[in-house]
């Protein structure tokens, strides 16, 4: 026998189910008066620094249909590449930018639209710069454990080409599943859960 390590096990994940809105976006489903506003619905304020953009996200199932009951969260750096988090020790983030957003997908179209700013570049753990990106987390009925992926920006070809995370993707044709094309101020990011274009998801 040896001494035990006395570690605990992480609580096991369970699906967010079809009624995730009640807990996380109650005003969206008409439960008003409990919370003033749904958390994460607004990411930017008048004074937020950086280029204003919109990000249109859909989550598409194995039959090609967008999920109308998904919940999407994004987490990103500010325009200078600093996270609004105590664990980012490199400096103070823009106080007018939370960096975190949460939206349900529309119950008719399956789309959600984040209004945010384009993030700056953040260093990889070895000091190389990553390309600007959003961290994206998806939960829904039928998803047993939240899915982590990233969205990169279609108009950042040079930065994307030297991004240390994108370079890790062995099947090069799959890199494009993480890159959202730009149309005006909108980046359109379709996340495919299955199929030929299955998005790269991360175990992080």
């Amino acid at each position: 026998m040896v001494q035990g390590l006395s570690r605990l096990k992480e609580s096991a994940s369970q699906t967010a189910g079809p009624y995730v809105h009640i807990g996380l976006t109650p005003n969206f489903v008409g439960i008003s008066g409990v919370y003033e506003r749904d958390l994460g619905a607004a990411m930017v304020a008048d004074k937020t620094k950086g280029e204003r953009i919109r990000v249109n996200i859909r989550v598409i199932d194995g039959a090609g249909s967008p999920l109308k009951d998904a919940l999407v969260e994004i987490w990103q750096a500010d325009a200078a590449g600093i996270y609004n988090s105590p664990s980012d020790l490199r400096g103070s983030a823009d106080p007018n930018f939370t960096g975190w957003g949460r939206l349900p997908t529309d119950m008719t179209t399956g789309e959600c639209m984040f209004e945010t700013i384009k993030p700056g570049r953040v260093p990889f753990f070895d000091g190389r710069k990553m390309a600007p990106h959003l961290t994206v987390w998806i939960v829904a009925r039928g998803i047993n454990i939240g899915l982590h992926t990233r969205m990169y920006f279609g108009d950042e070809e040079t930065a994307n080409a030297e991004d240390p995370v994108l370079m890790r993707i062995e099947q090069r044709e799959r890199v494009s599943t993480l890159v959202a094309p730009r149309d005006g101020d909108i980046y359109k990011f379709d996340i495919h859960l299955q199929g030929m274009n299955e998005t790269v998801f991360f175990d992080i």
Partner: protein, 252 residues
């Protein structure tokens, strides 16, 4: 969400998170839970060492909380009214895998009412709505990771999957730790409920001990006398490496 709202007497930790045990969590593809079939990624996940994008995460200050946010019996009820059902406290701590309390963790919960009915437009169960019950609550853990809710015990309900599948009584929990890689959604079950082991969603988890870890214990010592019984539910988030010897070049 500014840094000053982080508990002042703690140095933020920046170590990488322990790897997630994917055999402990449910797999993505679980055909007995039918909806997972078309919603489960089929390619292997790409393993990635944590970068700042995962080591950091949003922090929520107590200033977002209203007085009744953690009291589901009253937070939707009309003046002088309260929700119907067995009154309970749900309390416990948010810990990490090292057993350290996670301070400042945002917990958001949602649940059906005592009859098993959700307040949601997609919900079709014939059990009635309770006009005084909304079904959502939230709180932020204290310095030692502790939290408490007051609510009514939710009822079991049938759901479309197999011809006669019922969910055990449960409360949904969403948890933020200090890093986005710790983000977790799970469900709490109640000690002694015979419906737990029949449920296809519970059984997406393969390890019996992991299911027991989601089952809250009745705690008669923590009751509010003549008001509410208590269930204790501890939640464990991923731990992170403490790095006494630095072996990585940190970012600029």
């Amino acid at each position: 969400m500014t840094k000053s709202r982080f508990p002042a007497n703690r140095t933020p930790e920046i170590g990488a998170f322990f790897q997630r045990d994917r055999n402990w969590h449910p797999p993505a593809f679980t055909p007995a839970y039918k909806t997972s079939v078309l919603r489960s990624p089929q390619r292997p996940l790409l393993s990635l060492d944590n970068t700042l994008s995962e080591l950091t995460g949003p922090v929520f200050g107590h200033n977002i909380l209203g007085e009744l946010d953690n009291d589901l019996i009253y937070n939707f009820a009309g003046p002088g009214e309260s929700a119907i059902g067995p009154r309970i406290l749900v309390y416990g701590r948010v810990l990490d895998e090292r057993g350290i309390g996670v301070a400042g963790a945002l917990l958001e919960i949602w649940q059906a009412n005592a009859g098993g009915r959700y307040r949601h437009k997609k919900e079709t169960y014939l059990a009635p709505l309770d006009p005084n019950f909304g079904g959502c609550g939230r709180t932020i853990t204290g310095e030692d990771g502790s939290y408490c809710f007051r609510t009514v015990q939710p009822g079991p309900y049938p759901w479309p999957n197999g011809p006669n599948d019922w969910r055990p009584a449960h409360i949904h929990f969403s948890i933020f730790g200090h890093g986005f890689a710790q983000r977790l959604i799970t469900q709490m079950y109640f000690e002694g409920d015979p419906m737990i082991w029949r449920c296809p969603i519970v059984r997406t988890i393969n390890d019996r001990r992991a299911i027991e870890g989601l089952t809250a214990a009745l705690d008669m010592e923590a009751t509010m006398p003549m008001d509410a019984r208590a269930y204790k539910f501890d939640i464990v988030l991923r731990g992170r490496r403490s790095t006494p010897f630095e072996n990585r070049i940190e970012g600029s």
